[in-house]
């Protein structure tokens, strides 16, 4: 047990920071104000990810065979920290890199790998995930979008909701029911669907979080070749649970929260607010939550570095990350009062992003259920 970064890791972080200094445009703050799904940020991501790819950093944690360099998980975690902290210049592409690519490596055919992995690795493609439905949010297995087999294609009918990045996406990793008779976890399949297929329409749901954050995606007799199915038919649930294990701590929320908190404290100091012990306490407590989330996330990365299978530590880290994010967002709003509500102001921008933390990707409640069942081994009903 030891808690130092290796000199190589430290050097990588330094190099990455220099790269960001050089690469990010002066108006990056403005570009990133509306979140990764905004037109500006998604557009910029294509440019930025290409440059990350040039350096070999975009998918360095991937195996060499798929365009990576087998970098240790800690190295990729550093990239996650540095990029999330400043508002994620990879835009929606962090998803492909973190888990969609690895899922294709694990379950894809040679043809699918050849089609998708190089493009992801070069940073030139945007994906969205078609999971949630109006009647299936955190409880994904209740999904109803139907894919009927017709010859060598599936015909997909249904709709997805809360889909981020759908407006920009080139592909969708889509969860469909291929066997309506089967039980809840059975009969689900995963399709890799080009978004420019006929019969797909996208509607933006105006949201408080930022532009292009939520969408509805409608599938009206959309024909998807059987060759686009990822993994065996009716066993998509395994594919998804496996894929999501990568996803769970992919977003280094604590890093963003830590930087936000530092900025908040800096502003508070400038205004003399640190003299107020109540403010000092609140900042201190928020810092403990951020640090807790960091150390729990490190624990997960460490397990991966040791080649261990994912454990419930993943859920602990996620809930802690959400709590930290929300606490910092709330604190910013509270300290700034009315001033914090001005659109695009420091407090406002951070709060809106933090608000979704507990809801996105498997609500906190689901994480807590898993911790109770697997970490504490509490009985079911």
């Amino acid at each position: 047990m030891e808690f130092d970064w290796s000199p190589q890791d430290e050097a990588h972080r330094e190099e990455l920071r220099r790269f960001l200094d050089e690469t990010l445009p002066e108006d990056w703050e403005t570009i990133s104000r509306d979140g990764p799904g905004s037109d500006a940020q998604a557009g910029f991501s294509r440019e930025f990810c290409a440059r990350m790819a040039e350096r070999g950093w975009l998918t360095q944690h991937w195996p060499a065979a798929y365009g990576g360099s087998d970098a240790p998980p800690w190295r990729h975690a550093i990239v996650g920290e540095e990029l999330w902290a400043i508002g994620e210049p990879r835009g929606p592409q962090y998803m492909n890199v973190n888990w969609i690519g690895p899922a294709i490596m694990e379950f894809g055919t040679e043809e699918q790998k050849a089609q998708h992995l190089p493009r992801i690795s070069r940073g030139e493609v945007i994906w969205c995930q078609g999971f949630s439905e109006p009647e299936a949010g955190s409880d994904l297995v209740a999904l109803r979008t139907r894919a009927r087999r017709e010859g060598d294609a599936y015909v997909v009918d249904g709709s997805k909701i809360w889909t981020s990045y759908a407006q920009h996406a080139d592909f969708c990793i889509l969860l469909v029911r291929t066997d309506p008779e089967a039980g809840r976890h059975k009969g689900i399949s995963v399709l890799l669907v080009p978004m420019r297929t006929e019969g797909i329409t996208v509607r933006e749901i105006p949201s408080v979080v930022g532009e292009r954050y939520f969408h509805e995606v409608f599938f009206d007799a959309v024909r998807v070749p059987v060759s686009c199915r990822l993994g065996p038919e009716n066993e998509g649930w395994n594919v998804v649970t496996h894929a999501l294990q990568y996803e769970r701590v992919g977003a280094a929320r604590y890093a963003r929260a830590a930087l936000t908190l530092d900025r908040l404290a800096e502003r508070a100091r400038e205004r003399g607010w640190l003299e107020d012990p109540h403010v000092a306490e609140r900042l201190g407590h928020a810092r403990t939550l951020v640090e807790a989330a960091r150390v729990l996330t490190y624990r997960v990365i460490d397990q991966r570095a040791h080649g261990k299978p994912p454990s419930t530590d993943t859920q602990l880290a996620r809930v802690a990350g959400t709590d930290a994010d929300l606490a910092v967002g709330e604190l910013a709003l509270e300290l700034f009062g009315q001033e914090g509500l001005a659109y695009g102001s420091f407090a406002d921008a951070n709060f809106r992003l933090a608000m979704t933390a507990g809801v996105a990707v498997g609500a906190t409640e689901v994480q807590l259920n898993l911790i109770a069942a697997r970490h504490l081994e509490l009985p079911r009903e």
Binding site: G137, S207, G337, Q338, A342, Y343, T356
Partner: protein, 319 residues
Amino acid sequence: MSLDLAFSSEQLAVGEAVAGFCRERVGGAPPAGDCPADWWQGLAELGVLELASPEAEGGALEATAAFEELGAVAFPGPVVEALIGGQVLRREERAAVARGALRVSVGTHDLAPFVPGCEVQLEVSGQSLFRAPLAAGFESLSSLDAEPVARGVRTREERLERSRAGLDLGRLLLAAYLVGAARRVVALAADHARTRTQFGRPIGDFQAVAHPLADVYIGVASAETLTHAAACEWDERRDEGEGPSPGLAAAAWLAAREAALEACHVAHQVMGAQGMTLEGPLYPLSRRIRQRASHAIGTATARESMVARLDARVGESLG
């Protein structure tokens, strides 16, 4: 006559009239931005804009009944400010406020909401209200994508008499508005919890959903009664001819604020992504709650007056 915690029939009638008006005009959710001119005129015609002023028949209780209904639909615009104006402005100005012809903004030293729609701009500082217009050339901002706010330099012209009465009424009405909004938020979340199913049952079956909702229900219910008590106190003191003192109004404001913010927090958790859309019913309410909870009246003075109140009580009980 002993304790009686129900609104009188006159007060109920005020509330119902406002509720009816809101149903008819506002419908499901109010639009972003300032209050449309015809809605404002409608409020004036209902007599809402003059409640609790020296000329009005109705006092703080009537105003409370009205503002709970306004809160329930997240009614836009500087309504609380109009009634503050009804306490502190000159007689002819008060009449114009009551007619809907004059609008009042109450802000901090450098922020003023609803400018330029407001002809009278007041600044709040501690227990004082100043007439303090913004200089030309202010910067226009938007607050939580909805309300217009201006940032600029003010010139203080005069400290207004009856500042304390005005601010006390302001706290009280903010509390009433927040209570009304929070009740609706809890109702929406409870409705969602009864109808939305997950893992094969309504999510309200889960204690993890039901108990936090019970807690916010309790918080809102007690804040509601505290607001009513504060309104009673305000009216009694007015009838007795005393100037209102910072008492229950400060407590009601602090309690309602806390309860409403917590209600939003829980409701967002219960309703998930549906609470994050601009189309859904929750966000327009929670946004407005966040704005009203951040009102320029602030919490520092209210908190200090609570400590002062304790000082007095302890003095009494030890003496």
